[in-house]
């Protein structure tokens, strides 16, 4: 069942003006500065005098810039925009013993993915994200959230050469994720998010994801907030089962679909906190504050304000950078305005948004 840990209060900023608090956060990825891509190209150019140390410095600079960019939007919790990560499976596969790479495979058209193979039992070698977290923590003035690709997705988006079943591979990977979170917690992390986009394409495997989460959450202290992010799925196929997942928060995109599926989560009662996507990660227009406020109220149909977190639908890395910034800025403004309206008793929590027609 949901952890239901009361660990949200630690993220309230000192100068928070409203009695109500809607935790604002992001899913993780953010557009990379153009100069970072140029630096990466340079580092791969044998003729350029730009070595691995120079590239590392470029990553540091980008992480600092994007962390501060997040802070300027007013977000309560920030990430570094995943500046050091190339792709959500490849990045981790490079750091886990047992994985190997054979070359790109087609996803569609001329879009390819360096799909790794699990050639041997997976083992923990060195920390995956502790350096990234420590750097971001040191430059940030707000709490830092750590997104981690989940074991089910790491298994499902790889070739499995070594395990009898994908399920067994996912469980072994879940144990490694648990180890990594322990190290992150030692380093001071208090907010992690497990990303499982693969669950959306194979929703019948929700029990496998549930067992993975049991292993991931095992021994992790209650003050550490554990979120699960899933996107672009048919949620009637994993609800109410997800109420049994040992998580504090379920993060979901629904803005892109115009909240068509929001009612799925209203019956039976939603157990974990809801982190609701209120801006679309796939449209290059910044939603106006008023529109985002209406989206936030959709979340109040599912959970009370003290269980509602505000987030974009998904990672923002495919957007132009100024659009990504504008979406977050308006999102935070909208959240603060809704808090004020809640303080003033202006929102009817029994019917936060008018029913269509």
């Amino acid at each position: 069942m949901s952890r239901n840990a009361d660990n949200r209060a630690q993220f309230v900023p000192e100068n928070h003006e409203n009695d109500h608090f809607l935790l604002t956060t992001v899913v993780g990825s953010y557009p990379k500065p153009k100069w970072l891509n140029r630096a990466k190209d340079l580092s791969e150019d044998e003729d350029a005098r730009f070595d691995a140390d120079n590239l590392e410095e470029a990553y540091d600079d980008a992480s600092e810039v994007i962390t501060h960019e997040h802070e300027r939007t007013g977000l309560d919790t920030v990430v570094d925009g995943e500046m050091r990560r190339n792709e959500m499976v490849e990045f981790f596969a490079h750091r886990i013993d047992g994985y190997e790479f054979n070359g790109p495979v087609k996803v569609w058209g001329h879009n390819y993915f360096d799909k790794p193979s699990v050639a041997d039992e997976v083992e923990y070698d060195e920390p995956w994200l502790v350096d990234e977290f420590e750097f971001t923590r040191d430059v940030a003035s707000r709490p830092v959230k750590v997104p981690i690709t989940g074991p089910y997705t790491l298994a499902n988006w790889s070739f499995n050469e070594a395990y009898d079943s994908e399920e067994e591979l996912a469980y072994d990977l879940a144990d490694l994720v648990n180890l990594e979170i322990e190290k992150l917690v030692e380093a001071g992390a208090r907010y992690v998010q497990i990303d499982e986009p693969a669950l959306a394409t194979t929703p019948d495997d929700h029990a496998i994801v549930g067992e993975c989460l049991e292993r991931i959450a095992d021994g992790i202290p209650e003050e550490v907030r554990i979120g699960l992010h899933v996107c672009y799925g048919d949620y009637s196929r994993i609800y109410p089962e997800l109420n049994e997942f040992p998580i504090d928060e379920f993060d979901v995109e629904l803005c892109n679909g115009g909240y068509e599926q929001i009612d799925v989560f209203t019956e039976p009662d939603f157990e974990p906190d809801l982190a609701l996507g209120v801006v679309d990660a796939h449209t290059a227009e910044v939603e106006p504050v008023e529109e985002i406020k209406e989206n936030i109220k959709q979340g109040l149909k599912v959970v009370p304000p003290e269980k509602l977190t505000i987030s974009p639908d998904c990672g923002l890395k495919l957007l132009p950078r100024e659009i990504a910034y504008g979406k977050m800025e308006n999102m935070v403004t909208a959240a603060r305005e809704v808090e004020k309206e809640l303080d003033a008793g202006e929102i009817d929590l029994d019917a936060p948004v008018p029913t269509a027609d």
Binding site: N102, G103, V105, W108, W157, E161, T201
Partner: protein, 340 residues
């Protein structure tokens, strides 16, 4: 005496240099994919890539050579997405995979196209003496299943039209020894009671258009009993079964209960996993299947990968071709050269 034929269902991965060059020449977006009227630089890149994959097969020692279907950006939907009376809609999921294709929306009559025939002509030119060409097409049921129809009056009429269209394409093919019709939708989205007999009739229409041996290949599971029973009515030389990912007991039940054609195709090598089967494993799988079907000695056993091979990185696709050829050689009782 059973003849063993090492072959594949085609749809190969592009060589890595061609992935790069073609993505630069064509672009990454929906509108940038193959339309059937590519410019000379793009044609040139595909010609060069085709030479390589034909050479891959010749080098491995396969008994049938496919064109490789490297231009098929939309996978099995390709013959429709390049058709003049088809518009391409959104990007949709390709079966249960992390792959996508453009939804072909049929808005006019499916008349003759000639796109696949032209590809096969270029492949024919690359054959050496003694090589046998194998044509590859989606089966009519799968092609109709992958498309959206906005022109024909109902599902049945559309299926017939797709069958007639494919038959017209086959008539224009250059000389070929074998025609593989890939029908994964017969498993993945099995026809209902109104369509299952019709799906077999549509296959018949395509098979009638060629003198070559026709194989209807199914994969990603076993055929439902009733679908299989209807498929047995089709006048084809062999039905193909997925021995790797399929429900083998259901497949064997179908075959032992309803019989099968005089020849058979066996998907023995996993087209979706980088683990390369050893030649001995492939030989053992051929022998195992034959032992499970004691009542029949096949004229021909086509030993193939279960699925298309574009899911694999290039090095593993090449290793799988070699393993197939060597496994078949072992099953024939031939000594094989040990690869360095």
């Amino acid at each position: 005496m059973t003849e063993l034929v090492a072959t594949t269902p085609g749809l190969y991965p592009l060589p890595d240099w061609a992935k790069q060059r073609l993505s630069e020449l064509k672009g990454h977006q929906k509108g940038d994919l193959v339309s059937g009227d590519e410019g000379p630089e793009i044609v040139d890149a595909y010609d060069q890539a085709r030479e390589e994959v034909v050479a891959d097969q010749q080098g491995a020692g396969l008994d049938r050579i496919v064109e490789g279907q490297l231009r098929w950006d939309d996978n099995l939907a390709h013959p429709l997405t390049v058709h003049d009376n088809v518009e391409t809609g959104g990007i949709v999921r390709y079966y249960d995979n992390n792959n996508f294709y453009r939804d072909p929306e049929v808005v006019g009559e499916l008349d003759f196209s000639g796109d696949v025939a032209a590809e096969l002509e270029t492949a024919s030119d690359l054959l050496a003496a003694g090589d046998s060409l194998q044509a590859v097409l989606p089966g009519p049921y799968s092609l109709a299943d992958l498309a959206s129809d906005e022109h024909y009056s109902d599902e049945a009429e559309f299926l017939d039209a797709v069958g007639e269209f494919l038959a017209g394409e086959v008539e224009a093919f250059p000389e070929h020894e074998t025609l593989f019709l890939l029908e994964p939708s017969l498993v993945e989205n099995a026809p209902d009671d109104d369509l299952d007999a019709r799906a077999s009739e549509a296959i018949d229409a395509v098979a009638d258009a060629t003198d070559a041996n026709v194989v209807v290949h199914s994969y990603w599971g076993a055929l439902e009993e009733k679908v299989y029973a209807h498929l047995m009515d089709a006048d084809v030389d062999a039905i193909g079964f997925d021995v790797v990912a399929g429900d083998r007991s259901q497949t064997l039940y179908n075959i032992n209960e309803y019989g099968t054609k005089d020849s058979v195709a066996l998907g023995l090598v996993d087209g979706q996993n980088t683990l390369v089967e050893s030649p001995e494993t492939i030989r053992d799988r051929i022998e195992w299947v034959q032992e499970q079907i004691p009542a029949q000695e096949f004229d021909t056993v086509y030993a193939t990968s279960n699925t298309e091979l574009f899911y694999l990185p290039v090095n593993k696709y090449q290793e799988k071709l070699a393993a197939l050829a060597e496994g078949v050689a072992l099953a024939r009782g031939e000594e094989t050269e040990v690869q360095a």
